[in-house]
Point group: C2
């Protein structure tokens, strides 16, 4: 904001000025001069500061101070700009109601895909379209880990340790690698796309910690890459939405989004398919997203939170079992006669039809086990869940089978 202030004032039509600040530790050196700014020991009191027109909330977390600050600010009829994805994903419905009741704008471009203007794209750029699907690669840490695992053949835990050392993963990486961070972003995109917030706890979320080098090898051999992919689409009975590792065809644009990059992919009934990729995190990208919101406010933009005048009620995602698709299964088995037959019988009994199978004699471990990859035709996920439960119960099967969806990308 300081480095670019003249340009920002020109774009905003007026200067944008920081007048007050709150943080836990007043004495910490943040590399910038905070003198001249009013200091609030309690962030929540910013909401009542009469000199403040807009509160920028960069605290994080769906509860506590962040939630209180945003709620109070909106109640006071002041605008909020936030990067807080958990807060919007979990409490967006209530905050949207507060925003409209108090005519207090609530903007959160920085909550999704960093400097990529994902929210503006969906809410404004495609406002005239009917979105059929929205999703993509929404967590740079996971995408970095999967890319590195594929490039080096190393195990998940190895690459995670390295990612921590390089600053690509946080000290406690749970919300990233378990898919929650990305799921928060997907829930926000879905709400904007369909004009109604999701009941967040109905979203199916899986992380990447169970992906093994064997999965990445098999995927490559079958013509796919593995990505932590999120998707939301309107289906007959509501909204299908999930965040989970998937196999995507190597030639698809989404398969070629590598390393820490994020990509938002969506399809409009009229505009067709589009994809945007860029850096999803970091100080620069986040600052640009926050500035875009502040400039919009300065220019007088006043959009409803979900982009629609009358948002629908919070909606449950359809149950996981009702999804249909193609699936990849990896099963580690004792290399002994009859194992394939046992598995084939289970698949047949569950009505699951196979499209392909891969097994390599060379993959046999010293203790006599061998990994086996199966790819199915279109089937429903309920049948797959029963299938893997029965396969897991076979004596000849060691470890939990791995099941991943195959998506077009």
């Amino acid at each position: 904001m300081r480095e670019n202030s003249a340009r920002i004032a020109d774009r905003a039509g007026r200067p944008i000025e920081v007048v007050a600040v709150a943080a836990r530790d007043r004495s910490r050196d943040r590399g910038i001069d905070l003198s001249g700014l009013r200091w609030h020991d309690d962030a929540v009191t910013l909401a009542a500061d009469p000199d403040v027109d807009v509160v920028v909330e960069l605290i994080g977390g769906s509860e506590g101070t962040a939630r209180q600050l945003v709620t109070n600010t909106l109640r006071n009829g002041k605008a909020v700009v936030t990067a807080n994805k958990a807060l919007i994903a979990l409490h967006g419905a209530e905050l949207s109601a507060l925003s409209s009741a108090h005519e207090a704008p609530l903007l959160f471009e920085a909550a999704v895909a960093g400097g990529v203007p994902a929210i503006k794209l969906v809410r404004e750029g495609l406002a005239g379209d009917r979105l059929l699907r929205v999703g993509g690669i929404l967590n740079g840490t996971c995408n970095y880990i999967l890319t590195e695992m594929r490039n080096t053949g190393r195990a998940f835990s190895d690459v995670l340790s390295e990612a921590k050392a390089l600053g690509y993963a946080e000290a406690d990486p749970t919300t990233d690698i378990d898919g929650w961070d990305a799921a928060h972003k997907l829930a926000i995109l879905a709400a904007l796309s369909f004009g109604r917030p999701l009941a967040f706890d109905s979203l199916h979320v899986e992380g990447i910690s169970r992906i093994s080098p064997a999965d990445l090898h098999f995927a490559q051999e079958l013509g796919y890459r593995i990505k932590l992919l999120g998707l939301a689409r309107e289906v007959q009975d509501g909204i299908e939405a999930w965040m989970r590792p998937c196999l995507v065809p190597i030639a698809s644009p989404i398969a070629n989004v590598e390393g820490v990059f994020n990509a938002l992919s969506y399809e409009g009934a009229f505009a067709g398919s589009q994809m945007i990729e860029g850096r999803g995190a970091g100080a620069g990208p986040t600052a640009i997203a926050v500035m875009a919101d502040l400039i919009d406010l300065a220019r007088g933009s006043r959009l409803p939170v979900w982009g629609v005048s009358t948002p629908a009620n919070r909606v449950e995602c359809v149950p996981r079992g009702t999804l249909t698709g193609e699936y990849y299964l990896r099963v580690t088995v004792q290399d002994q006669p009859g194992v394939i037959a046992d598995i084939a019988i289970i698949l047949r009994d569950c009505g699951v039809s196979l499209r392909g199978m891969v097994q390599h004699a060379n993959d046999k471990t010293p203790n006599g086990t061998v990994p086996l990859a199966l790819v199915t035709h279109q089937t429903d996920e309920h049948a797959m869940l029963v299938t893997i439960q029965r396969i897991a119960a076979l004596d000849s099967v060691v470890n939990e089978p791995m099941m991943l969806r195959i998506e077009a990308g």
Copy 2:
């Protein structure tokens, strides 16, 4: 607009209604019911129709009716939405002045990259950033032709004929294949990115009609693809901007934008590199872009044409000779002793250093000529222009040498 009217009203906060229309032929069946709309035989009179709040100009062409209609509408203080890239690229400076003098918004999302919200991205999404470069693949016809030439090994003229038959190229494809259509879009993007319109006739524009199957082969062998690429960036003495076929590394995201797809690629000082791809043409994508502008107007959005309060004057692009970069050269020579030496001496005398050379004995034609590909280290374009002039003058060289820039993508 009719198929999606309820959704559009919800997004716009009010219904958007078509009240009047003008076209050349009143009797032509356009597949939609025009009864109930006031018909203007002369499109320009729409500007004075008291029931019209916004004029949507979809006539095309930088002069004549389109220009008169847009000018008159702005003079009457009414908003204009247009898809007319030539008009904005050539007369944007004057129209921007009219727009601000009469407080009449001028919006043109549909002028660049069809349904991809390219203009919104640059003007609003990255408003807080300092853009270092903007460009991309901005013409679907050319990208389709280059993709097909590479995939099939066929010549330009063959593929162009097929593209016409398939409706991917117009009956008169000149503005597409000669690069003008894409150059208009680039000029608009540059004006938005740098807050000042370009003097359009100072832009260097080259089309794709001289690209041969041999160029596509050599590019592939050297690790590149050939794309009609546009680029604008701020340099020491002004703005560098051009539209020309370039070699881009096969692994770069832009190299993988194929067929009729368009891609906008840009880099912000803070947000880093981003790329968005989607369909750049067609009824659906264009309609969505026009609707985005109409919804913005309905929501009360009022942005200056180039996004800045005080646009700078029209700026000349820096002369082509001052560019620096790596270059690809294809020379067709008589396969006789001393040819390579002659070429090498010219390169040395012009201060151009070679990074690589490819020639295949098998490529020799019955009349004894053979194509030769050269790749240079960083050099300035002036030196290259002198080089190819001297090489072309050699007795052993047949045809005009082909020179293409190599870009990172």
